[in-house]
Amino acid sequence: METRDQILQILEEKGSILQKDLWKELNIDSSKCSRILRKLEKEGLIRRVEVVVDGVKTFKIVPADAEIEEEGRELSLIELMETMDELAGLPPCFGCMAFECDANGCIKLEVWFLRRTSIG
């Protein structure tokens, strides 16, 4: 079975998997894994959602049609501002490893910005 098919099968069975666990499970190196995932994402078969695990960023891999629980989706802006302490200093873009991003769709940058308004 090809690696890409193995990945799709794993997603079917588990629903989602962290990228850092995936390449270990498939016994391939991380760069090969990320190459295949980027391709699958371009083909619209999967989505990669940035998550933080033990303080380190990685991607959660989900099937393209999965409902995504975005970080803080259930929380209000005020609640987010209270939880994201780290967003006091330099903008979150500094050191953000997201592959592609929309600055105006980023909740972290929004919270960072709002801290500088009167409600912050």
Partner: protein, 169 residues
């Protein structure tokens, strides 16, 4: 200004590779090493070491080569920290941050925003009209959000970043 750029590199590594990334980076090892050697030396879990090393790799501050161990048949990773890429990586991150802040400012400057009085959501004037100036989450009124001060602060931040970029060559 050397001190400032060192501080920024530390901040960057901490954000991407965590405390363990910082510790490994501070070991100042110039040659190759294995994750196992570091785990032994620091007395931490090898998986934590690997995670931090791969984060440093993603950042561009580490590289590795894989070689099969003749005795065990396992793939061994030989790591190397790219101290000479420090400035290049720092510049790249600052440039990206600058670009993103400029995008943010442009949007904030060209959009009128409303915010829920309880701080649930922030939406554009057009969306606010559609919602009858009522919060879609808690049904409280939406009020005008004055972002001029924040935009001003972000502009200052941008100036600082530009200054740093001039200094880090």
């Amino acid at each position: 200004m050397v001190a400032k750029s060192e501080e920024l590199v530390r901040e960057l590594i901490e954000r991407v590779a965590g405390d363990i990334g910082l510790i490994i980076y501070a070991l100042n090892i110039n040659g190759e090493f294995t994750d196992e050697e570091i785990a032994m030396r620091l007395g931490i879990e090898i998986n934590d070491v690997r995670r931090a090393l791969f984060a440093l790799y993603e950042l561009g501050l580490a590289e590795y080569r894989r070689q099969k161990d003749e005795d065990t048949g396992w793939m061994e990773y030989y790591w190397k920290i790219n101290y000479d890429r420090e400035r290049e990586v720092l510049r790249r991150e600052l440039m990206k941050t600058k670009r993103k802040l400029e995008e943010k400012i442009e949007k904030e400057d060209s959009t009128v925003y409303y915010i829920c009085i309880n701080g649930c959501v922030k939406i554009s004037y057009e969306q606010a009209i559609e919602m009858g100036f009522t919060c879609p989450r808690c049904s409280s009124p939406l009020e005008y959000l004055d972002n001029t001060l924040a935009v001003e602060k972000v502009r200052e931040e941008l100036k600082k970043i530009e200054e740093l970029l001039r200094e880090i060559v």
